[in-house]
Amino acid sequence: MARKQLETLTEQMYYLLLALHQPVHGYAVMQFVANLTEGRVQIGAGTLYTLLSRFEADGYITRIGTETNAIRKEYVLTEEGRRLFKKERTRLQLLLRDSEQSLAQENAEGRLIP
């Protein structure tokens, strides 16, 4: 049975795909995300495993190398993964743009309570 396609990504999924633009192993992903977000977003080990497994099964990421240590296995985005990330990024940009425009307009008309 085909897996349900992802409609939107959670924050953790988004940062994981962002990290996997370069070949990187699981432990480095956790460090990368924590550093990038200054600790605001932290991916737990269980969640990381689940997401990596799911993305790999869905064909969004692929494993490279022959490393057998679970945490040292390297992954990278596939073309489909890149498309998914790009689609989500565009969606987030549109959300941000729309909200910025709306708020700026309301601010100019003096309707917005600061």
Partner: protein, 442 residues
């Protein structure tokens, strides 16, 4: 002794898998008090020891497929998950059914599961799995109940004299428990989907309510098991003859050994499948014993052996009345003789004899002897023979003025049945009574 000096302590851990988040909170509360989880036994006693740096606990709900549940360490997916998270510094602290408890490295702040979406998917899968299993089990229980109730010549008296009553009671209790469980799971699944829609995750009951709910369910489970054992042992004590006692002892030993090995945590670890060895050995012993010792033993051990059943004062007095009834109850389960006779033959005649289980050889003997009897005494051939089960618990002879039936039954199901078309076979014939008594009680 103050709490500060207590190095280890044991606490009851009654949480249900559905309340795994509450269990997680409870463990983390203990961790904040400076206690580290050492183990949890199948009897749900959690052992803690003092620790300077608190750990963080995570309870993971993991469904192992039925095929793999007997060998949980061969669950490839779980092994991968286990390997990954332990590589990240988490340690596997304990397991209780589908709840796998991991402990973080000391001082760790990141939770094991940080994305509610993936956790919700796993919890949903668990809820669905249990709900489907619950429906399947309930269906099986109802089917079994219907089959039992639909047995030929079933009567309440037969039920009360038989293991069937016990089995049906257990089926009924199981059905009620399953219904309760299904309702609980349905509510749980509803709560999950509501929590997801409202971005409120995890949907945790308070630790206290989850604790007491678990304790009540656990207590009810223990009570049912204890009652079952008491019923079986009481039956053995009330019954006469060593055969019944040995049979009951074996019957009791199987679930007891399963419970014992699980509760004591014997063979825990990678040889967990060894838990099945002891019950399997006992089951095999029981089968060997049953197959080698059942031959005609029940009849010989019957207390009615050699006793003329119909010569008791009660029956003699009753037989003189127009509406006769004789009931001999030597044991609630094993010996029961019912003699009912309506002399004007408008309501028919019933004889019932309960004997202990016997083998195919004995049921064949019953058929042959009765056939011979009818050939010799009445010069008629039985027109039908039907053998369904190789054991015999009850013999019933019925005459209604139109014909006669001899039924040899096991647990309410006909084992041997012979129908005689001619009405000249009188069921109240003392000669037939004598033959029946000689066949089954001597």
């Amino acid at each position: 002794m103050s709490n500060e000096t207590v190095r280890t302590k044991r606490l009851f851990f009654p949480f249900l898998p559905l309340d795994y988040k509450a269990a997680e909170q409870w463990l983390n509360q203990r961790a904040q008090q400076g206690y580290e989880l050492c183990s949890i036994s199948e009897s749900r006693i959690a052992k803690f020891k003092r620790a300077d740096t608190p750990r963080r606990y995570a309870v993971v709900l993991w469904i192992t497929s039925t095929a793999q549940s007997l060998r949980p360490y061969e669950d490839v997916e779980f092994n991968k998950y286990h390997e990954f998270v332990t590589s990240c510094g988490w340690t596997y602290a304990a397991q209780l059914g589908n709840m796998h408890i991991f402990a973080s490295p000391p001082g760790e702040t990141i939770p094991l599961e940080s994305d509610p979406t993936t956790e919700a998917a796993r919890a949903n899968a668990y809820g669905r799995n249990r709900l489907i299993t619950g429906f399947i089990l309930l269906g099986a229980c109802i089917l079994l109940g219907l089959l039992l109730m639909g047995g030929d010549m079933f009567s309440f008296m037969a039920l009360s004299m038989n293991y069937m009553l016990l089995i049906m009671l257990l089926v009924a209790i199981m059905s009620v428990i399953l219904l309760f469980r299904i309702l609980q799971l349905a509510l749980y699944n509803r709560r999950l989907s509501k929590a997801e829609k409202e971005f409120f995750w995890p949907p945790v009951h308070t630790v206290r309510s989850a604790y007491w709910r678990g304790a009540i369910v656990y207590g009810a489970g223990v009570l049912v098991v204890v009652l079952m054992f008491v019923c079986i042992i009481a039956d053995s004590i009330i019954s006469h003859g060593s055969y019944a006692s040995v049979q009951a002892a074996f019957t009791t030993l199987i679930p007891l050994s399963v419970t014992f090995t699980r509760w004591t945590g014997l063979f825990r670890g990678r040889n967990k499948w060894m838990q099945l060895i002891i019950p399997a050995c006992i089951m095999a012993l029981f089968l060997v014993y049953a197959l080698t010792s059942m031959e005609e033993k029940p009849i010989k051990e019957s207390r009615l052996a050699g006793q003329p059943v119909f010569s008791s004062a009660t029956s003699a007095a009753q037989r003189e009345s127009q509406y006769n009834r004789l009931t001999v109850q030597r044991s609630p389960l094993y010996t029961y003789v019912e003699y009912y006779e309506d002399l004007d033959e408008t309501k028919g005649v019933t004889y019932s004899y309960y004997v202990k289980s016997c083998t195919q050889a004995l049921s064949d003997r019953v058929y042959n002897e009765l056939s011979d009897t009818f050939r010799v005494y009445y010069n008629i051939e039985p027109r039908m023979q039907e053998i369904i089960f190789p054991g015999v618990d009850r013999v019933q002879a019925r005459g209604d003025g139109q014909g006669t039936s001899i039924l040899v039954m096991q647990k309410g199901l006909v084992c041997v049945r012979m129908d005689f078309r001619l009405s000249d076979v009188s069921i109240s014939d003392p000669a037939l009574q004598q033959i029946l008594v000689q066949t089954f009680f001597s």
